[in-house]
Amino acid sequence: MTRPDTLQPRPRLRERLLQVSAAVSTPLLPDDFLGLVDPLRGSVDLRARVEQVRPEAAGAVTLVLRPGRGWAGHRAGQWLRLGVSIDGVWHWRSYSLTRPPRADGTVWVTVKPVVGGFVSHHLAREVRPGQVLRVAQAAGDFVLPDPLPARSLMVTAGSGITPVMGMLRELAEQGELPDVVLLHSALTREEVVFGEELRALALAHPRFTLLERHTETDGLLQPSELDVLVPDWRDRAAWACGPAGLLDALEQHWSDAGLTLTTERFAPVLAPAAEGEGGVVSFTRGGTTVDADGATALLDVGESAGVLLPSGCRMGICFGCVVPLLSGSVRDLRTGDVHGEAGDLVQTCVSAPAGDVSLDA
């Protein structure tokens, strides 16, 4: 009880001030008005200003962001949902945070343009310092455990290096890197995002091993090669991040060995023939109805029609997009299974209509 008595009423005063500011700004919120002077304040979504745009290898860029008030921090390996307005329309995508929390308060994400990736191309080419983007709180459990296992293995490919880079940088900040093997695949040596930094880390930290696989010359990595490349892989705690094909093969390999592998996926695994007949989708709250095919996720169907739907990872993991089903059935695009009873919470990002559907959204 060292706090002086004079400070006691402060929380009450603060509460009173909040009440008054809400009363004078109704039906808007105080942050709507504060946004006039501070562009990092908004009433719904968190904002972040782009401080720097740093080019990386293979056409990737790192966006150095300064989040506004309300940012709750993150852990290395987690991802960030980033919203950007393109031609007037907000688009949200998730990207890995590639640095641990920093003293200067900036948050770093690395975006690698993907083939046909409208949003990633925009972020990598059009975004300029000073621009204000929207962000959600960091999420994901692809993070290093504490304490760290004595020996670990990270298998990555392409932009799959991004969350792992965050982890490695965190470990390097703490001092000498422990016994970590990073097996990374990229098309060529030049295509390795963070290639120079990784090679420098390997030189500086004797217990960190970098194994580069250049698929243009060496072909795609097969899990069976692990016995040669990392003979003690069975004894290492393992993480993997990369394209779905690689992750599927690795998961199978680890599971066959009776071991567990922690993976981070950037896209949902779609069933090869998960297509069927679509139907009329009704979003009952706003009264919007749309004809949809059987291959497009309900989230995309709704968003294209201007319906405001909750969304998250957009790959069926985070359950941030669930909406109650009122009638009809949906097809899970990952498995092709048709399911649905009134009242079910449907993951709109990986479900397509199987016939006419109405949603409480």
Partner: protein, 373 residues
């Protein structure tokens, strides 16, 4: 005011004889094929705008939002110095302009879903709430659905007279309507109350079409909004001015009145000047999209003016374009207007338009004339 609103209205007038004798009955010499052709051309205009919505439109609505918030802050700030007459006048003017922008160019249009395509939860019909007593939810039902679907159909479109005024010869006269001009002045001054209580749909409750529970739910929602607006405008802001509370309170009251009178004038000029016609319920039977378009054009009237006037009218000065395309962004009505006018000429449909003063006088003349049988 409430007593007037709660006056029972008979929604079902006995069937009328052939329509041709009634002066306000629509007559178009168009064939069915022509109507559908016109409809297809209007659909094409709509598609053109939908395909070209983009960053410039988004920047526009963000700039209006910023203008509203800046004007509101400026108005409130100036009114704290309202003991000085120039500050009071400037503050009240800013606040009136802010409230008008907020209701008309922002609230009305955002609640129509005109900006939903941006997927911005801060500018979306499902999340927006506006500074008027009508709660956004019930407004979307009575206005977006009832008024915009059944536009000018007497007995179906409750905006024809708001259940208070006689605005069409098809509304049967009774001695109550002798007060028509007086009711109009009252409705104008208390327009936000009129609009809010309109959503309660008292006549539907009396006829059993709407449950008492639903009406009570709407009334409670209105009550909450009234409480918040009154707390803000008549309690907290005056209190913050301390000894100078009186000019603040008076400025806030004036701004609400100015907004009421202005929005009433703009809205009444949208459907009731000479040239805008009312319809009977028969019109709705088997109505095609083409015929719906024709009804919207015949039943609406534009107001002439410059860009600032259009902005302050919430682009309801393009009432015809708004009624044809209620969900297109309001900033696009100006470019649609000459195209719609050309189509009207081509198909021999009257494109009613005139300056505010002239149109409002015609509305008043109609209100006065219809006070008598």
């Amino acid at each position: 005011m409430t007593a007037v609103l709660e006056r029972p209205v008979t929604p079902d007038a006995p069937p009328r004889p052939a329509l041709a004798a009634v002066p306000s009955t629509p007559t178009t010499p168009l064939t069915h094929a022509q109507v559908e052709e016109l409809g297809a051309k209007l659909d094409a205009l709509r598609e053109e705008v939908l395909a070209s919505r983009g960053e410039a439109d988004a920047a526009y609505i963000r700039s209006v939002i910023k203008a509203h918030r800046t004007l509101e802050v400026a108005g409130r700030g100036l009114l704290f110095a309202g003991i000085l007459p120039p500050a009071w006048i400037a503050g009240t003017a800013c606040l009136s302009a802010a409230k008008i922008l907020e209701n008309m160019e922002l609230g009305h249009n955002i609640l129509h879903g005109q900006w939903d395509w941006m997927r911005d939860p801060e500018i979306h019909s499902s999340t927006w709430e506006w500074d008027t007593m009508s709660p956004s939810d019930s407004w979307k039902r009575t206005h977006n659905y009832e008024h915009h679907t059944f536009t000018n159909v007497v007995g179906k479109d409750r905006d024809v007279g708001y259940g208070i005024l006689r605005m069409s010869e098809e509304q049967r006269w009774n001695p109550y309507y002798l007060g028509n001009p007086v009711y109009n002045v009252l409705l104008s001054l208390f327009f936000q109350w009129g609009v809010a209580l309109h959503d309660v749909e008292v006549e539907k409750v009396l006829s059993g079409e709407r449950s008492k529970a639903e009406a009570w739910h709407t009334l409670k929602a209105i009550g909450r909004k009234v409480r918040k607006q009154f707390t803000k405008d008549y309690l907290v802001f005056p209190a913050l001015a301390g000894p100078f509370f009186a000019p603040v309170l008076l400025g806030n009251l004036t701004s609400n009145l100015v907004r009421n009178v202005w929005s009433h004038a703009i809205i009444f000029c949208g459907h009731f000047p000479d040239g805008a016609v009312q319809f009977e319920e028969e019109q709705l039977e088997g109505e095609t999209r083409g015929q719906w378009y024709v009804r919207q054009m015949m039943g609406s009237a534009n107001l002439d003016g410059g860009p600032l006037f259009h902005l302050m009218s919430g682009n309801l000065s393009f009432q015809i374009e708004h009624h044809l395309f209620p969900d297109l962004p309001s900033n696009r009505y100006a470019e649609l207007s000459p195209k719609v006018r050309a189509l009207c000429e081509e198909y021999g449909i009257e494109y009613t338009s005139g300056p505010l003063g002239k149109q409002y006088l015609q509305v008043l003349r109609r209100i006065n004339r219809l006070a008598l049988p």
